[in-house]
């Protein structure tokens, strides 16, 4: 028997959103379509719909984040849910309470959804396995494993500016090895069926295993960016860098930093993306980040609609399919 995907309920609907890996293509399309309709909500004078009125969503952040937490919070509020923000590092676990104890307490307070970010890979899965049947878990980033809502907002941004996925060549540039964003993007891009996914970066930061996911590896920007429609720059994650994986920041910028000059290697209408926060002059030149081909701020805006979509899809399943029967 096929192992059941923990992300889906018995009706095949989205119950948790932990990873873009292993979800059917139609599910990803549904997320994008639903997000598209939520994008209109921000044009109303009251930027809110009553869908999740009376529901409580808890942002459980074991790792610091501003943008991601803020957009999850805004998404929840625009759906009229109540939101609780917990910075766990400074809270219960510091007093020796285990994650499961913390969760049990939040469940006892009748919360409906946990949005989880943790420095350790697999935390969101672990929590999803242990929560009560009516609770949904969204992964807001776990270690170097996955960051599925970021990947989906990137897919949304790509679809909005390019239309179809099939003909696209997409290059992901930088620290692929430590990037949960890159991993989730690769799964989403291949599921959605783009023409080619490329990874560009130094050998130390681009693991060979990703070839098994169908990714083509390049170590040179000029070659890697040729005929590319979408360039996704990753942040150089200094805080994750252990040991000497890089010669120097300066050297890295010279070889892999996205400058106007290197941007010219890609297609003339290629778009430039970055999950933020950007390191100006480290992985990307300011004039590129702020230039006409950059969709970096649109990514932030789109993040709200995509998170609204995932929240309403997971919490809006019919009550019969919420695991009790």
């Amino acid at each position: 028997m096929k192992r059941r995907n923990i992300q889906l309920d018995s009706d095949g609907k989205l119950r948790h959103f932990l990873s873009t890996e292993g979800l059917p293509r139609q599910m990803l399309i549904d997320i994008l379509d639903t997000a598209e309709s939520f994008a209109g909500v921000t044009e109303q004078s009251v930027k809110k719909v009553p869908l999740l009125r009376g529901r409580t969503i808890v942002n459980l952040f074991f790792e610091a984040s501003t943008r991601t937490r803020t957009t999850f919070e805004l998404a929840a509020k625009r759906l009229s849910a109540d939101v609780l923000n917990l910075q766990i590092a400074s809270s219960a676990t510091a007093k020796g309470e285990t994650i499961l104890d913390t969760l049990a307490n939040l469940e006892a307070m009748q919360c409906d959804m946990f949005v989880v970010r943790h420095a350790e890979s697999g935390t969101a899965h672990f929590i999803a396995k242990h929560v009560a049947p009516h609770i949904s878990v969204l992964n807001a980033g776990d270690g170097s494993h996955a960051h599925p809502t970021q990947a989906m907002l990137d897919m949304f941004t790509i679809r909005r500016s390019k239309g179809d996925f099939y003909p696209l060549n997409v290059a992901i540039v930088g620290d692929i090895k430590h990037s949960r964003v890159a991993r989730s993007q690769i799964h989403a891009l291949t599921t959605l069926g783009v023409h080619e996914v490329r990874a560009i970066g130094p050998k130390t930061l681009v693991p060979d295993e990703i070839k098994e996911l169908g990714v083509h590896i390049y170590h040179d920007m000029k070659e890697g960016l040729r005929d590319v429609d979408v360039i996704i720059m990753l942040r150089l994650q200094n805080e994750r860098m252990s040991g000497a994986m890089l010669p120097s920041e300066h050297e890295y910028y010279k070889r892999y930093g996205l400058t106007q000059e290197k941007l010219a290697y890609a297609k003339p209408d290629a778009i430039v993306m970055h999950p933020g926060p950007i390191n100006r002059g480290v992985e990307i030149e300011s004039s590129v980040a702020d230039g006409p081909r950059s969709v970096i701020l649109q990514q932030v805006t789109n993040g709200i609609a995509v998170r609204m979509a995932v929240m309403s899809m997971t919490l809006g399943r019919s009550q019969q399919s919420q695991g009790t029967t």
Binding site: I31, A39, G40, K48, V49, P50, L51, M313, G316, R317
Partner: protein, 168 residues
């Protein structure tokens, strides 16, 4: 069981009554808004028959439904499109079938999230019995009495056909 009603007759009845309504109430520059999907089809025909100046608006009330926790979300929700600000406008709200009144309740809530209209007039192709809320239409194409287990639905868009069936 299937029964059909001549839609063009109903549309022309709605057109002349709406025209009279606009004149009797001295409404200038009304803005017509159709409720997705059936209401929008009816509204398209009415809008062109009346020759209204302001482009047609469309409303998808999915995000305002009161049965969301029971039926979940439909990913094919179309974004609502209102051509311009509804503040101080006279809205002609159009739907295909008025039944429980819950759709209109949701539509009114959504409209008010876009602004404060001067007035809202409800126009429906068909008014059937079974109201659950104190909501009535101002202009009605036809009234029908159906049994509670009967359902009537507008299919379209080309041609528009009313189909009656029994609820399974």
């Amino acid at each position: 069981m299937t029964s059909q009603t001549h839609i063009p007759t109903l549309i022309s009845k709605l057109t002349s009554e709406t025209q009279a309504y606009i004149e009797n109430n001295a409404i200038s520059q009304p803005m017509m808004v159709g409720i997705h999907t059936g209401g929008a089809w009816v509204a398209e025909q009415l809008h062109s028959a009346l020759g209204l100046e302001i482009p047609l608006g469309k409303l998808d009330i999915s995000f305002y439904r009161d049965d969301f926790t029971r039926v979940g979300i439909n990913p094919q929700v179309k974004p609502s499109q209102l051509p311009l600000s509804i503040d101080d406008k006279h809205i002609l709200l159009v739907d295909d079938v008025l039944y429980t009144g819950r759709t209109i309740r949701a539509a009114l809530n959504e409209l008010f999230d876009y602004g404060r209209p001067a007035s809202i007039t409800l126009i429906v192709l068909l008014d059937r019995n079974g109201r659950e809320l104190p909501i009535q239409a101002d202009i009605v194409g036809r009234r029908v009495d159906l049994k509670p287990d009967e359902q009537i639905k507008l299919q379209g868009p080309d041609p528009l056909v009313l189909v009656t069936s029994e609820v399974k």
